[in-house]
């Protein structure tokens, strides 16, 4: 479990080691988190035990990222880029609070809306929506939410993210 490298059928197709625009990278660890804070913390602790020099962490959702951040803090490891995915209101607030560096915001309401529209269209004899160009699915879109935008990467800040987030309490 966790994200296996170089296995498209399971998760991710990147090599365990390789080059990116900046330099070289090594994926040193992947661990399951159960998508919650306590699991995220335990997973990060195990990864840090394997290699204390980790500098990028990607988690399955924001609660797991918060747990990972807690483990990093307890270990006194600094300057780690923690990124995640979901973009619910809690998660965007954690970006604002600096617990998470960036999160990829999804739009479940838009997915539902477009999905229902497509169903109605097909049911009434209309056409199936076309797949998005270059992909093998229909892309409803995601936006990167971060308060420290990187050059050349499109993103919105956490205030803008909060205005678009889902699961408001």
């Amino acid at each position: 479990m966790g994200i296996d490298t170089k296995d498209k059928k399971r998760n991710g197709d990147e090599d365990k080691t390789g080059n990116y625009s900046g330099s070289t990278y090594t994926v040193v660890c992947n661990e399951p988190t159960t998508g919650a804070e306590d699991g995220g913390r335990t997973a990060m602790e195990r990864c840090l035990t394997k290699n204390p020099a980790i500098n990028v962490v990607y988690t399955i959702n924001e609660p797991a990222a918060v747990g990972a951040q807690k483990a990093l803090k307890a270990a006194g490891v600094q300057n780690v880029l923690v990124v995640s995915v979901d973009g619910g209101c809690d998660g965007v607030k954690q970006v604002k609070d600096g617990l998470i560096n960036a999160t990829s915001q999804q739009y479940p309401l838009k997915m539902a809306e477009l999905g229902v529209k497509a169903i109605k269209q097909i049911a009434t004899g209309g056409e199936k929506p076309k797949v998005t160009g270059g992909l093998d699915f229909f892309d409803t879109g995601v936006t990167l939410v971060t308060d420290k935008p990187a050059a050349g990467v499109e993103s919105i800040d956490s205030t803008e993210g909060a205005s678009r987030c889902w699961g408001k309490s």
């Binding site: 399951p32 919650a36 804070e37 306590d38 335990t42 602790e45 035990t49 747990g67 951040q69 809690d90």
Partner: protein
């Protein structure tokens, strides 16, 4: 000199080496988990020397603290030949209530912690009352309350987490780290250690403790000996509930949030620690020391195999095999003739 009586002859009979081992294990149920712990420590340290570093061992302690604490309550219930499937649900309910009330109503930290324990006590009392007053089997009672408490916890929290910044500092205190030599432990770990000492002492050295063993060993014999069986049983569920409520506090510090999605496998993991620790599922035999060893063994396996680069699914498999082995050994030990 008269000839030895049959009983004396029986006591002095020659035993085969295997019987002697069986007898020693029967008298000291914590020996086998202790050996497993030592061997696993040695093996995992050989595979990856990082495993034996104080830092990794400190982390294992922190990782097993929550399940280790829950397993104390589970041990009490299992000693009475019962089982508690509502461990995780009670903990989550207690945690969500104390965190949400502290966040929403501004309840001071001290009272929020007490509220968590009170919720645990109330839930344990319900379990205990259903077992003793209505006479339902503990498995069925806690299977039912597992769903009831899970649902109440989710309804009350609306499935949402409470973040550490929104809670009083005391609720997060259990996650505070400090150093003892090269070891780094949390206040939560210390609390769990105290819990083990207190419950271990109560089980071994108080009348109540002896009654728990007596009831678990043979209910009818305990009743005939003048023990108020129902009262002992009820007390066990209530105390277990209080322990789960206290663990909710430890969990908040550990996770850095109160989330209804935490400790998903707490029920089975707590039973696993108890069983690997040599406490018999048939009641009346075992101790919290064994449970502590059991929880540590699971922690060692999960961390050690992770460091050895073994995929998580195989770690689950390994823990499963350990449980089967532990129960098989328990069955064998129970066949010993005094």
């Amino acid at each position: 000199m008269t000839a030895a009586t049959a009983a004396e002859q029986f006591a002095l009979r020659r035993r085969s080496p295997v019987q002697r081992v069986q007898h020693v294990l029967h008298s000291y149920p914590s020996i086998s988990p202790f050996l497993v712990l030592l061997v696993s420590f040695a093996v995992f340290s050989l595979i990856n020397p990082r495993f034996a570093q104080p830092n990794s061992l400190s982390l294992v302690l922190q990782q097993v603290a929550v399940i280790g604490a829950l397993a104390v309550g589970q041990t009490l219930v299992i000693l009475t030949a019962g089982i508690d499937l509502s461990v995780g649900a009670i903990t989550i309910l207690a945690m969500m209530l104390s965190a949400k009330v502290a966040e929403g109503q501004g309840l001071p930290g001290f009272l929020a912690v007490l509220l968590g324990v009170a919720v645990g006590v109330a839930a344990g009392t319900l379990n205990g009352a259903l077992v003793t007053r209505i006479g339902l089997p503990p498995f069925i009672v806690t299977l039912g309350t597992l769903s009831v408490f899970t649902a109440v916890g989710l309804l009350y929290s609306r499935g949402q987490s409470v973040q550490s910044v929104d809670m009083p500092a005391l609720l997060n205190w259990t996650g505070e780290t400090f150093s003892i030599g090269r070891f780094r432990i949390t206040a939560g770990v210390v609390l769990v250690a105290v819990l083990y000492v207190v419950v271990g002492f109560a089980l071994a050295n108080t009348a109540w403790g002896r009654h728990v063993y007596a009831v678990g060993d043979d209910k009818e014999a305990a009743r005939l000996a003048g023990i108020r069986v129902d009262r002992v049983l009820l007390s066990v569920y209530v105390i277990a509930g209080a322990i789960y409520g206290l663990t909710a506090w430890i969990l908040i510090g550990r996770a850095g949030a109160a989330s209804p999605n935490a400790i998903t496998d707490a029920n089975l993991e707590s039973i696993t620690a108890v069983v690997i620790g040599g406490t018999s599922l048939f009641g009346g035999r075992g101790a919290v020391l064994g449970t502590l060893l059991g929880a540590l063994i699971v922690g060692f396996f999960r961390s050690g195999l992770s460091l050895a680069g073994v995929d998580d699914q195989y770690r689950v498999l390994a823990v499963g095999l350990l449980v089967l082995l532990a129960v098989a050994v328990d069955q064998w030990i129970r066949r010993v003739r005094a």
